[in-house]
Amino acid sequence: MYELINTTLIGITSGSIYALMAIAIVLVWRSTRIVNFAQAGMALLSTYLGYEFIRIFHSFWIALPLAMVAGALVAALIDLVFMRLLVKHASQGPIAAVAPIIATLGLLGVIRAFISFFWGNQDLAIDSPISNVGYTVGTHTLAISPLKLAILIASLALMGVLTLLFQRTNLGLALRASAFAPEISRLAGVRVDGVRTLGWALAGAAGAAAGMLQTPNGTGTLSPDSIEFSLLLVFGFIAAVIGGLESLLGAVLGGLILGLVLAFVLTYISGSLVFITGFVLLIVVLIALPRGIIGAKGARRA
C-alpha cells in the first residue's frame, strides 16, 4: 500500500518537472513550428548560471528566479541572432524539413562546449536547499520530502502563471494568435517577430526552472554532458507529444502521465527498462492517439 502511494508521489514530482520541460518545448513549437532540441542545452546553461547565483546569494530560492531570467535572456538572444537567420536561409530545398532540427542540435553542441570552456568538465554540486528526507507517517517514510513538495508547488505555480498569462492577458492573446496565424496577426498589428522572441524567452525560463528543480531532485550534480539533461529533453518531448504538442494544459497532463508511468515501471518492473519505456510510450501515443490526449487539428502533419 505504502509502496503504491510512494510510487504515485515520485511519479507526480518527476512528472511536474517533465511538464515544465514539455511547456518549454510546446512554447517554441507553437511559435515557430520547430522542436527545439537545444532546449536541454539551454536548460543546462541556465542551471549553471543558477549555480553561480547560488554561490553569490547563498540561496536556492533567490537563484531560481534569477536563473529563469537568465534562461529567458539566453533563449531570446538565440532567437534574435540565430533562429531568425535560419528561418530565412534554410526554408527551401529538400532538407528544409530537417534543417531546423539539425540546426538546434548544432546549437546544443555549441552550448555544451561553451559550458565546458567556462566551468570545466568536473561535476558541480547543487545542494538541496531544504531537506530531501521524506515525511514519515508512523513507521513508514513517504516519498514526499519538503524539497519534493516545494518542487511540486513551484512547478504548479509556474504552470498556473503561464496559463493565466496565455489565457487572460493581451500578451497571451498576441502569443497565441502569432502561433496560429502569423500573417493575420501581422495584419492586425501584432509585431510577430518580437512576440516570437518572447515565446522563446518564456520557453527559456520554463526550461531553466525545469533544470534548476531537477538537479537537486535527481543526482544533485551538474556536468557539461549530463545524461540527466538529455533525459529531461527526451522526457519533456515525450510529455509534450502525449499532450498533443500544441497545448500547455496537454503538456502538463502529458508530464504527469509520463512521470507516473515511469515511476510504476521503476518500482514494479525494472530500473533498466525506464528509458525504453519512454520510447515505447511515445510510439504507442503517436500511433494510437495521433493528436495527443488534448488533440489539436492537423498537429501531426503540420
Binding site: W29, I34, V35, F37, F82, L85, L86, H89, A90, G93, P94, I95, A96, A97, V98, A99, I101, I102, A103, L105, G106, L107, L108, G109, V110, R112, A113, F114, S116, F117, G120, N121, P224, D225, S230, L231, L233, V234, F237, I238, V241, S270, S272, L273, V274, F275, I276, T277, G278, F279, L282, I283, L286, I287, P290, R300, R301, A302
Partner: protein, 336 residues
C-alpha cells in the same frame, strides 16, 4: 536505345571505379603507419554509417536522431551470434545486417506514419533508451558489454600483416560493397520512388506510389547498413558495451551526413573524414595556441557543432550539391 546503352556502360564504369578504388586503398594501407591504418578503418566505418543515414534522410526524407541505436543493434547482434551461437566471424556481419534491418523494418513501420519533428523525437528517445536495455538481459553483458574478437589475419598474408591492417581491409571491403550497392539501388526504381516521395509525398501517392511500404523499405535498408557499421565498429574496438553507443554517436553520424550533403551520396567521404580528422585538428590547434585542458577536450565538439550550424545556414544541401548547382547554373548561363 542509346540511353539504355549509356546506363549500362555507366554501371560498368562504376564497377571498375570501385575495383580501382579498392586497389588504391590496398596499396595505401601498406605505406602508412599503424595509427593511420586504424583511422582509415574508422573512416570506413563512418562512411558506412553515414551513407545509411544519407539514404534515409536525403533520399527517403525521413530523419533519424537515433541511428547510433541501430549501429548498436548491429554490434550486439554480431557479438551475441559469435559468443552464444558460435557463428563464424564472417557470417556475423551478415547477421548484424539482418537483425538491424529487421528492427529497422519495425521502427520504419511506426516511422512511416510520423513527420519530421515527431520522428526526430522518437528516434532520439530510442537512442537514449536502447543502450540501457543491455543491463536488463544478462546475455547482453550489462555495463561491461561483450567482447567481439574478429581474430588474427590469416598467416598466409605474411608476418608483418598486423591486426589493424586486417581490420582495415575488412572494413574497407564492406564500405566498397555498400557504396557500390547503394549507388545501384539509388539509380533503380526504388531510388526514384524515394526521391519522388521526398519532394512531394501527395503527388507521389497520387501517381500510385505506395508511400508507406516504400518508407519502411528505406528504413529497413538504412538500418541494415547501420548494423553492418555496428559490426565493423565492434571489430575495431574489440567490444560492444552501452557506453560505446552514446547519444553523441547518433549526433556525430547526423553531423557527418549533413557535412557530406544529405541529399547526395557523393560527399559521404567528406563527412567521414571530417568526423575522424576533427579531434586531431582540434588537438593541433589547441597545442599551437597552448590552450588549457578544458579547451583541448572541448574544441572537437565545438568545431563539429559549429560546422553543423554553418553547413545548415550556408550550404544546406551540402558542399557537393552546392558545387553542382553552381556549375549547372553557369552551364545554363552560358547557353544564353
Amino acid at each position: 536505345m542509346r540511353a539504355v546503352h549509356k546506363i549500362k556502360s555507366n554501371s560498368t564504369t562504376r564497377f571498375i571505379f570501385f575495383i580501382a578504388l579498392g586497389i588504391v586503398l590496398f596499396l595505401l594501407s601498406n605505406r602508412v603507419d599503424e595509427l593511420r591504418v586504424y583511422q582509415g578503418a574508422e573512416i570506413a566505418v563512418y562512411v558506412i554509417a553515414i551513407s545509411s543515414l544519407i539514404l534515409l534522410t536525403g533520399y527517403s526524407g525521413q530523419i533519424s536522431l537515433g541511428h547510433g541505436a541501430l549501429v548498436a543493434i548491429g554490434g550486439y547482434a554480431a557479438a551475441v551470434a559469435n559468443i552464444n551461437f558460435h557463428v563464424p566471424i564472417w557470417l556475423t556481419f551478415f547477421i548484424a545486417v539482418l537483425v538491424s534491418a529487421l528492427f529497422g523494418a519495425l521502427l520504419g513501420a511506426a516511422a512511416a506514419r510520423l513527420s519530421g519533428p515527431y520522428l526526430a523525437g522518437a528516434t532520439l528517445a530510442l537512442a537514449v533508451g536502447l543502450p540501457s536495455i543491455a543491463n536488463q538481459f544478462t546475455v547482453l553483458g550489462g555495463e561491461q558489454g561483450l567482447t567481439f574478437d574478429a581474430g588474427m589475419p590469416p598467416a598466409s598474408l605474411g608476418e608483418d600483416f598486423t591486426v589493424y591492417k586486417w581490420n582495415f581491409w575488412i572494413a574497407a571491403l564492406a564500405t566498397l560493397a555498400i557504396l557500390w550497392l547503394l549507388q545501384n539501388i539509388l539509380r533503380s526504381r526504388y531510388g526514384r520512388t524515394w526521391r519522388a516521395i521526398r519532394s512531394n509525398d501527395v503527388a507521389a501517392e497520387l501517381s500510385g506510389i505506395a508511400i508507406g511500404r516504400s518508407k519502411v523499405l528505406a528504413f529497413a535498408l538504412s538500418a541494415g547498413i547501420a548494423g553492418l557499421a555496428g559490426a565493423c565498429l565492434a571489430m575495431l574496438v574489440g567490444t560492444v558495451s552501452p557506453s560505446a553507443f552514446p547519444i553523441s554517436l547518433s549526433f556525430s553520424l547526423l553531423t557527418g551526413a549533413v557535412l557530406a550533403g544529405v541529399t547526395t551520396l557523393g560527399g559521404v567521404m567528406i563527412g567521414a573524414v571530417v568526423l575522424v580528422a576533427i579531434p586531431e585538428i582540434a588537438d593541433a590547434v589547441a597545442n599551437r595556441f597552448g590552450g588549457s585542458e578544458s579547451v583541448t577536450s572541448n574544441l572537437p565538439g565545438l568545431l563539429v557543432s559549429a560546422l553543423l550550424i554553418l553547413t545548415v545556414l550556408l550550404v544546406p544541401n551540402g558542399p557537393v550539391e552546392q558545387m553542382r548547382t553552381i556549375r549547372s547554373r553557369k552551364g545554363v548561363a552560358s547557353h544564353h
